[in-house]
């Protein structure tokens, strides 16, 4: 019932969007106010319907109605409330709805603030893109073809061929599959909305560019479009930053960036959008780059649609760790992309000769030329990343079954371009604010160049940089930082409002420095023994157990419980044990790794990497463990670590394996003859170690006889504390020892007590009151005391803080620019 209403709401909203688009089209052509009013109403109602449908979907999720495919696929009963809400955008359909809601919000802004003659066409194109988004979730059947995948489809509709559903179409699963554990993160709550807000706003420059082409007014669209484009850029940048930070602190690939297609999907539009901003700024000042500004505005949105296609069509399923699965939208996404590109570029070519030409002057010292060069460099970087991301498609030109490109492809191409961009920012900024000839420019740049050289040299020497490309890179980055810094200070003294550009470019320089330091100078934290072992490997002296030569270095840090190791003469690192934290995620272990300064004085800290069973993919036969790294952030370097293995995890796996074997091989066999039996004697207050446990004997006490059989002569209970070694929690075990008489003979009665969460048992087998000593019979636990260990991957990452700082400066710079352009716009209207 709810599903039907949801579907109807989406269909009605779809219809409203189409009607609104028609209305905006008529308004654009006929310029009659009533068309605009009606269309605005229709579009507003469309927004309400989408909101209603989203609320219904959320309702289905919160009330756990697993007969709906979406609810079954992405949620489960044990999800916390905040993750139930974020599961709404955990799948393709929901994230399309989120995108549409945010696009509606943006459209309201456009209705209010856009002036004639652009507002009709702008809103027409906005509605058009909304129609495309609707087509992805409409779920309308047209013969054999279904338009879009409805979020409200039932299990039976989603999987018509599943036998259990054919047998019983009304089948409702008791629980859903749940959200992927990696998505159960606070970042999941904020990252997608910001990303899609960025996508929605990036639609605006496209709409304005199209409106400019339609109305043949190629200049005035810049001013109203600029704040939106800047806003889109900040939103995308924030989303990229959050995504990178999320990956860094919760995934185990060990960094904030991996050139994964899904990361690139947000980066490419951001870069092209930034190129567009450059052209728009020039166009606003001098009306000389109408073509380029329109072209980039169109391209930024085409980039968003293209990357949406890549990540949502399933084409990247092999090459990305987190792209969506194909929902059968492949064809529709191709159409979306084709239509947007054809309309956009077609209109562009159609009006090409009509657009004003820049005055023919190739003056290398003009701000137009420099800004244009900057935009072109950005565009090339975007193009290269898009090319790499497209390897499953474009790679077919070279090989039949292409793999993703090596990471070096991205690095080798973007690095030199980034260096060129860094240098251009300074020249561009110096010339942007003041007409310069080569001589005056050279004079002005003398000091910044000298300062950059000195500081770069110092950086190279202190950092021990050997690579020549890195040296040049460092020089250009410092040049960008210092050159733009000088400009910014000068501007700030006269006109603080206009420092946005200089501040952004300064941030770019900072970001470049941070990226190099944090990615090229990572080092694994290893103890001396492992380092020597690695040296031997490099010399080819190590063979493994099977007699093969070992060629790969060991990057693990192995720590035994309470046995410190010295690392790099800097830290003394100790594994201090673990805590079971069932309340966070059932079965989660939090490890305690203590870092002390090697020489004794100074600050010490404890890191807490975690390991937990992935609920969504673990089965009763196999626990799939996942890790949550811990990062200790510092001003100069971060320490990053995750647990690769531990004795606890190993023991759990063994235990499970034994259970499975026992269950399948000998279901009826008694355990008595196969399990290990050992007898140990203990005095009061004594602790012994057996297998993975420490056993502490506190005391024994007589048992209240009323609870026992009448024939009992004596009954005592031993108070024992059983502690899994390394854990800081213990379980009390209180086995009974009693003697009773039957037929004139004395018998002892001492039932074995099961160890909680373990197969073993403890039996109180005899007592020697004169010595205060008891004897315990322990079954199912290894006699040998087992080492407790943890295998870590730990890295020191220098200057990640600088990456974040650079990103924040970029955001601040863009924000200053928004305020400036927005302020001017507001005064006009």
């Amino acid at each position: 019932m709810v599903g039907l209403i949801g579907k109807l709401l989406i269909d009605a909203a779809f219809l409203c969007a189409i009607l609104a688009a028609v209305g905006y089209f008529l308004y654009s052509q006929k310029d009659e106010e009533r068309y605009f009013k009606i269309s605005n109403w229709l579009f507003g109602i469309q927004g309400l319907f989408v909101l209603g449908a989203s609320a219904l979907l959320l309702y289905l999720v919160i009330t756990h109605q697993f007969n709906y495919y979406y609810v079954f696929e992405y949620t489960s009963r044990d999800l916390q409330f905040k993750y139930l809400i974020s599961a709404f955008w955990g799948g393709q359909e929901g994230s399309f709805m989120l995108w549409m809601m945010l696009a509606t919000l943006v459209s309201f802004g456009l209705m209010k603030w856009t002036r004639k003659p652009y507002r009709g066409p702008v809103l027409f194109f906005m509605a058009l893109t909304q129609i495309f988004l609707f087509s992805m979730i409409a779920g309308i059947h047209l013969g054999d073809f279904t338009l879009g995948a409805s979020p409200f489809r039932s299990l039976a509709e989603a999987m018509p061929n599943a036998p259990f559903l054919q047998a019983n179409p009304n089948f409702v699963p008791q629980d859903g599959k749940g959200l992927n554990d990696l998505l159960k993160s606070p970042w999941m709550v904020i990252h997608p909305p910001i990303l899609f807000f960025g996508f929605s706003m990036m639609t605006v420059p496209f709409c304005f560019a199209m409106a400019a082409l339609w109305k043949r007014k190629y200049n005035n669209w810049i001013e109203p479009a600029l704040p939106w484009t800047l806003g889109a850029n900040i939103a995308l940048l924030t989303a990229i930053f959050l995504g990178g930070y999320w990956a860094y602190v919760t995934l185990s690939f060990g960094g904030y960036w991996a050139w994964d297609p899904v990361e690139n999907a947000a980066l490419v539009p951001w870069i092209i959008g930034t190129a567009g901003i450059h052209m728009m700024v020039v166009q606003r000042k001098k009306n000389s780059s109408a073509k380029a500004s329109i072209f980039f505005a169109i391209l930024a949105y085409v980039g968003i649609v293209y990357e949406t296609f890549l990540t949502r069509s399933g084409i990247l399923a092999d090459s990305s760790v987190h792209s969506f699965v194909d929902l059968g939208l492949y064809g529709q996404l191709v159409v979306f992309m084709a239509v947007i590109s054809i309309i956009g570029l077609g209109m562009f070519l159609y009006r090409y000769n009509d657009m004003p030409n820049p005055k023919r002057e190739l003056n290398l010292m003009s701000r137009e030329f420099l800004t244009f060069s900057g935009a072109m460099v950005l565009f090339l970087i975007g193009l290269i990343i898009a090319l790499g991301t497209s390897s499953p498609i474009i790679g077919r030109l070279f090989v039949a079954n292409p793999t993703p490109p090596e990471v070096s492809f991205y690095n080798n191409w973007t690095m030199p371009l980034a260096m060129i961009a860094a240098v251009l920012t300074v020249f561009g900024q110096y010339i942007f604010w003041k007409r310069q000839d080569p001589e005056s420019l050279a004079r002005e740049l003398t000091w910044p160049v000298a300062a950059s050289c000195v500081i770069a040299l110092a950086t190279i020497m202190i950092g021990g940089v050997r690579n020549i490309e890195y040296m040049v890179y460092i020089l250009t980055a410092w040049f960008a930082l210092i050159g733009n810094g000088v400009i910014m200070v000068r501007l700030a003294m006269k006109q603080p409002k206009v420092i946005g550009g200089a501040l952004t470019h300064l941030g770019f320089g900072v970001l470049l420095l941070g990226i190099l330091a944090s990615s090229a100078y990572n080092s694994n934290l290893l103890d001396q023994a492992t380092k020597n072992y690695n040296k031997a490997i490099v010399q080819g002296k190590v063979t493994d157990e099977q007699g093969f030569k070992k060629t790969q270095k060991v990057n693990f840090l192995e720590l035994k419980l309470n046995e410190p190791k010295i690392i790099n003469d800097k830290y003394k690192v100790t594994y201090e044990g673990y805590t079971l934290k069932d309340q966070a995620r059932p079965g989660q272990q939090e490890y305690r790794i203590k870092f002390e300064p090697a020489d004794g004085d100074g600050e010490q800290f404890v890191m807490h990497p975690q390991v937990y069973p992935m609920l969504s993919s673990s089965t009763s036969q196999n626990i799939q463990w996942s890790v949550d790294p811990d990062v200790r952030s510092g001003l100069f370097s971060d320490v990053y670590m995750y647990v690769s293995g531990s004795s606890y995890v190993e023991q759990k796996n063994d235990q499970l394996k034994k259970q499975n074997k026992g269950a399948t091989a000998q279901p009826a066999s008694s355990t008595s003859d196969t399990t290990k039996v050992q007898k140990i004697k203990l005095k009061k207050g004594q602790t012994v170690s057996v297998g993975d446990f420490d056993l502490h004997f506190t005391n024994y006490v007589p048992v209240d006889s009323s609870s026992l059989q009448d024939s009992t002569i004596v009954a005592i209970r031993a108070h024992l504390q059983l502690m899994p070694r390394g854990s800081d929690s213990s379980v009390p075990v209180e086995p009974l020892f009693s003697v009773y008489s039957q037929n004139g003979e004395n018998w002892s009665y001492a039932p074995p007590v099961q160890i909680p969460g373990h197969n073993g048992t403890i039996q109180f087998s005899s007592v020697d009151p004169s010595k205060g000593e008891i004897e315990l019979t322990i079954r199912g636990i290894d006699k040998k005391v087992k080492d407790q260990w943890v295998l870590l991957v730990a890295q020191e990452k220098p200057f990640i803080s600088i990456v974040w700082l650079g990103t924040f400066i970029l955001m601040a710079g863009f924000s200053v620019s928004i305020f400036r352009h927005w302020d001017r716009e507001r005064k006009k209207s």
Binding site: N67, E73, M159, A162, P163, F164, N168, N170, F171, V172, P173, Q174, D175, K177, D318, V325, L362, I384, L387, G388, I394, G395, L397, F398, V399, A400, N401, P402, T403, P404, P405, E406, F409, N412, W413, V542, D544, E545, Q546, F548, K549, K550, T551, Q552, K553, V554, N555, F556, E558, M614, S616, S617, T619, N622, Q624, W625, S644, G645, L791, V793
Partner: protein, 133 residues
Amino acid sequence: MKPKLVFGIIAIVGFTSLLMYNFGNSISTYTNFKQASHMGNAHVVGQWDDSKDYGFSMKTKQFSFFMKDEAGNVRRVIYPKHKPNNFEQAKRLVVIGKMKNGVFYADDMLMKCPSKYKTVDASQFKNSKASNS
């Protein structure tokens, strides 16, 4: 033609061909062990051969197992990290690395898992019972 235009065209063509050439070199195709021995970095696709020994060695800190590629060749694979957690469940493995002396030294390994909340199969409904609503 104007020299400026010629220069521009040469620059664009040169850049594009260099880029595409480099791109072509940096991607490779999914292959098998036999061919991998003639290649530098190779991506080999296959399945875990569970009839032979496998495991992580605490001594040499490496995970080794045998993999059968799509052409049926079985080779030992050495992976210098811990055993990936979903290893046993993986339907298909992609190992990325180099073939040396009949052993594949993988730097990276990707797993295609059947049940990773992606495809639905009936076995997942084991613990649930039918009800009407």
